[in-house]
């Protein structure tokens, strides 16, 4: 190991880069430890200001630092300007806490919040001097692990990771840390390879190198073979209850202005509404609500501990929390009216608006609603149990309560979509504007409807995992149609860049052969792909075609009988349930929310030691 004091070399150089406080650590609430047995570095492979707002990683940071033998530290992806300096001066990436080179850690964990961070994972590895391919790593390199929603199909990145954690990791990481401690203190018997086999015994830990993918002569994926010592399927892990887990959250208050610069309290995990395109709705089942008392305690504690003037009550669908009204009233009672409250993801009906009014009694900024589809037929296909009447009465209530700017989220490319279904987005937007005009009368000038249209990306583990994704030219056609029809001074049309959805779609259902293409794209200079202004589609399509990836095939419909690259990763939801949902979608049949209606036997509460937990129980 080198004796260079990299930090003293790097620190003065930081004056030359943009926002140097991204790289200095020392934030209020960060945890610094000296002598420990296991050093772990957690990484959100994007810029600091994005990563700092990630709740999942913050929970793991707190959980691991509770262990006296572990130091959990952080590293984010550096911006280009710093990367150039690091390379020029031959300084490796350092952790924010101990400022040690990342490659001196025992474990390096990445959270994969979306597919488009894959090249950035390679960037962090590369700048740390860690071999990009797991197979090339030596005994002194850190064990590299991934987690997060995109890890539910780990195959496209399987060659980069030694381990992948499937599901909620707050207990699993402790098992991994324990194992590391034991293995190190025993003198690393059997080396890295033996450690990986041991790790594969921990529930939720997937060791890609212990699974050999098979391909047919036609190039079709034919499943994996698990090597000796590896379980046939890796089952998703989830905590049984959030009750009593509030102390685990540390509160790092960034120096840099983060994208979400606010305190966060998680109301519940899971969502059982069952929208058929939604991966989160499957992979976080079942619904587990935090008891109201603990929510309110956490609100008070987190505001006092951070000094934030803004609070977010986070969850997949915040207004579904069974005692949301009491929580909002309780928050106002403790925190007063100076607190800005944000409720991400509100449901589309008058109750949603009532809550939005409670959340922001004075100020009326923009309001966001997600009908997802324009026509009733489409909403039935995706199991979005919202009627046009719900939408119109919600916006009516919103206009009456003082909002004049409403943002609507829609998707194109849903299975079975016709031209009329896309046009229905335009019609609905116009109806909403008309409702606004009739309410605002002479004051209609300030009305603004923002129509935000994304493209369906079929995700693994969802009923739409077999669906066809729109081909690039189809996306452009539909967007052009919307653009030409949504020409109104008061309706703004925003769309997701075609290349972003196509690349996401190519990654989302890929098998292990995709690792080569990701590596090739990284080598050509691709990075920060999730930023539509930085995604370099030319370099990407070059890399994909050089590596033999057929984009049309990757976006195409899958056969129900065909093996899928993530079949050996189980979310706990059975394939039979997904098939039946896929079929029900074709006939527009809806499936109820199991929180209040009957259980649809999706498999989670049958096969995992889990059950729905409501705050009101």
């Amino acid at each position: 190991m080198s004796n260079r004091d990299y930090w003293s070399e790097l620190e003065p150089l930081l004056a030359q880069v943009e926002k140097p406080s991204r790289y200095i650590g020392g934030e209020y609430g960060s945890i610094h430890k000296d002598k420990v047995e296991v050093r772990i570095c957690l990484s959100y492979p994007d810029l600091y200001e994005l990563g700092a707002s990630n709740l999942g990683l913050a929970i793991l940071y707190g959980r691991l630092n509770e262990l006296d033998y572990v130091a959990a530290e952080r590293v984010y992806a550096p911006e280009r300007d710093l990367e150039v300096l690091l390379r020029e001066k031959e300084i490796p990436l350092l952790t924010l806490e101990s400022r040690a080179p990342v490659n001196t850690m025992d474990l390096l964990g990445f959270t994969l919040q979306y597919e488009l961070v894959y090249t950035n994972v390679l960037k962090v590895l590369d700048l740390s001097g860690i071999p990009l391919l797991a197979a090339d790593r030596g005994e002194d390199d850190p064990i590299v692990i991934a987690g997060g929603p995109s890890a539910m199909n780990p195959e496209p990145v399987a060659e980069f990771f030694d381990l992948v954690f499937i599901g909620e990791a707050e207990d699993g990481v402790v098992s991994v840390a324990d194992l590391l401690r034991k293995w190190k203190s025993d003198g690393k018997p059997g080396g890295r390879a033996a450690f990986l086999v041991e790790a594969a015994q921990i529930p939720g830990v997937y060791v890609p190198s212990l699974y050999v993918p098979k391909y047919g002569e036609d190039g079709a994926y034919r499943g994996v073979e698990a090597l000796e010592g590896a379980p046939d399927t890796v089952l998703r892990q989830a905590v049984a209850s959030l009750e009593g887990r509030k102390s685990q959250i540390p509160w790092i208050v960034p120096f840099v202005e983060a994208v979400h610069d606010r305190a966060v309290v998680e109301l519940f995990r899971g969502c059982a509404r069952g929208c058929r395109f939604c991966q989160a709705g499957i992979i976080y089942r079942p619904v587990r609500e935090r008891p109201k008392k603990e929510v309110l305690e956490m609100v008070g504690e987190s505001l006092a501990a951070t000094g934030y003037g803004e609070l977010s009550l986070a969850s997949l669908c915040t207004s579904d929390y069974t005692e949301i009204r009491e929580v909002l009233e309780g928050v106002r009672a403790t925190a007063g009216n100076d607190l800005t409250l944000s409720l991400p993801s509100m449901r589309v009906d008058t109750f949603g608006i009532e809550l939005a009014v409670l959340a922001s009694p004075g100020k009326k900024g923009g309001l966001t609603l997600a009908p997802e589809a324009g026509s009733q037929r489409m909403r039935d296909i995706i199991n979005k149990n919202v009627t046009e009447e719900d939408v119109l009465s919600a916006v009516q209530a919103a206009f009456e309560s003082g909002w004049d700017r409403i943002k609507l989220y829609f998707m194109i490319g849903l299975p079975g979509e016709t031209e009329e279904d896309v046009e229905a987005i335009v019609d609905l937007a116009q109806k909403i504007l008309a409702v606004g005009k009739s309410i605002k009368g002479g004051n209609s000038g300030r009305l603004k409807i923002v129509v935000n249209v994304s493209t369906l990306v079929p995700k693994s583990h969802t009923p739409f995992q077999w669906a066809k994704q729109l081909a690039p030219e189809e996306v452009l056609e539909k967007q052009a149609m919307l653009k030409s029809r949504l020409r109104s001074r008061q309706i703004d049309f925003k769309w997701h860049e075609m290349a972003v959805s196509v690349l996401e779609g190519v990654m989302a259902r890929a098998d292990r052969r995709m690792s080569k293409a990701i590596l090739a794209a990284y080598r050509k200079g691709c990075e920060f792909d999730a930023w539509s202004n930085r995604l370099n589609w030319d370099l990407w399509s070059e890399s994909l075609s050089e590596c033999g990836v057929d984009i049309d095939r990757m976006l195409g419909e899958r056969d129900i009988g065909q093996p899928l690259p993530w079949d050996h990763i189980s979310s706990g939801v059975t394939k039979e349930f997904l098939v039946s949902e896929w079929q029900r979608s074709k006939s527009g049949e809806s499936t109820p929310d199991c929180r209040f209606d009957e259980c649809s036997l999706c498999g989670v509460c049958q096969d995992l030691p889990l059950e729905t937990r409501l705050a009101s129980d």
Partner: protein, 226 residues
């Protein structure tokens, strides 16, 4: 009802890379964490009544930064200091607090003298700075372009090499005094650092504000001497 206090705090070398807005946010949040009854402004988006009297560029540290805080009611200056010390992150120690009598002029409305210590500067930087001091006109480079500054000696006062510090033989510590007027303009520490950075061996230069006083007809005054 509300009473004002002037707080002196440091921006230690460890956090010298913070931008002014970031320092301001840290202090605002520390005020909320501390539970001090900071007065709020009225209006659409109420905010804490804190005035940042001094302002430092990224990369520059300081022992003497000042902010004026309005509290609802009165408190002893000692307990204000203690509460802030507990709530601030390392590197932003509050060293003193003074109560401001009503009508105290804001720091920004007065002429200020700052003493900066420059570290890791090349030996020749003293001559370079003296050259600036005695020039009739110099060019300063800003993001928006270059501009001419006449008689820079009005702003750049005492320049002296100082001994001590842990500098290697080839680099020096230099002290300079910079005067800023309430009307703005003039020469900033950033401009001096930019010049020295361009010199051979100057890329690692950095600065810390070590003294700050108010200039008035009666002479120099400590900002806490109110």
């Amino acid at each position: 009802m509300s009473s004002k206090y002037r707080v002196r705090y440091e921006k230690a070398p460890a956090i010298r890379m913070l931008a002014h807005l970031e320092v301001a946010r840290v202090l605002e949040r520390a005020c909320r964490r501390s539970g001090l009854p900071v007065a709020m402004s009225q209006g659409f988006r109420p905010h804490q009544k804190i005035t940042f009297a001094t302002n430092l560029p990224v990369g520059v540290a300081s022992e003497v930064e000042y902010a004026d805080i309005a509290l609802v009611g009165e408190m002893s200056t000692d307990s204000i200091r203690d509460r802030l010390v507990d709530a601030l992150p390392e590197g932003m120690l509050v060293s003193a607090v003074a109560a401001l009598p009503p009508g105290t002029a804001a720091l920004q409305s007065q002429d200020i003298s700052s003493t900066f210590q420059l570290y890791s500067a090349p030996e020749e930087a003293v001559q370079t700075l003296e050259g600036i001091q005695s020039a009739d006109v110099i060019q300063i480079i800003r993001k928006k372009g270059t501009k001419d500054l006449e008689s820079p000696g009005r702003f750049l006062k005492n320049i002296q090499a100082v001994s001590g510090g842990n500098n290697s033989a080839s680099s020096a510590s230099i002290q300079v005094e910079l005067v800023t007027s309430a009307t703005g303009g003039g020469l900033g520490i950033k401009d001096l650092l930019a010049v020295i950075r361009e010199m051979p061996g100057g890329s690692g230069v950095w600065a810390k504000r070590v003294g700050l006083s108010i200039l008035s007809n009666e002479g120099r005054k400590d900002p806490l001497d109110v």
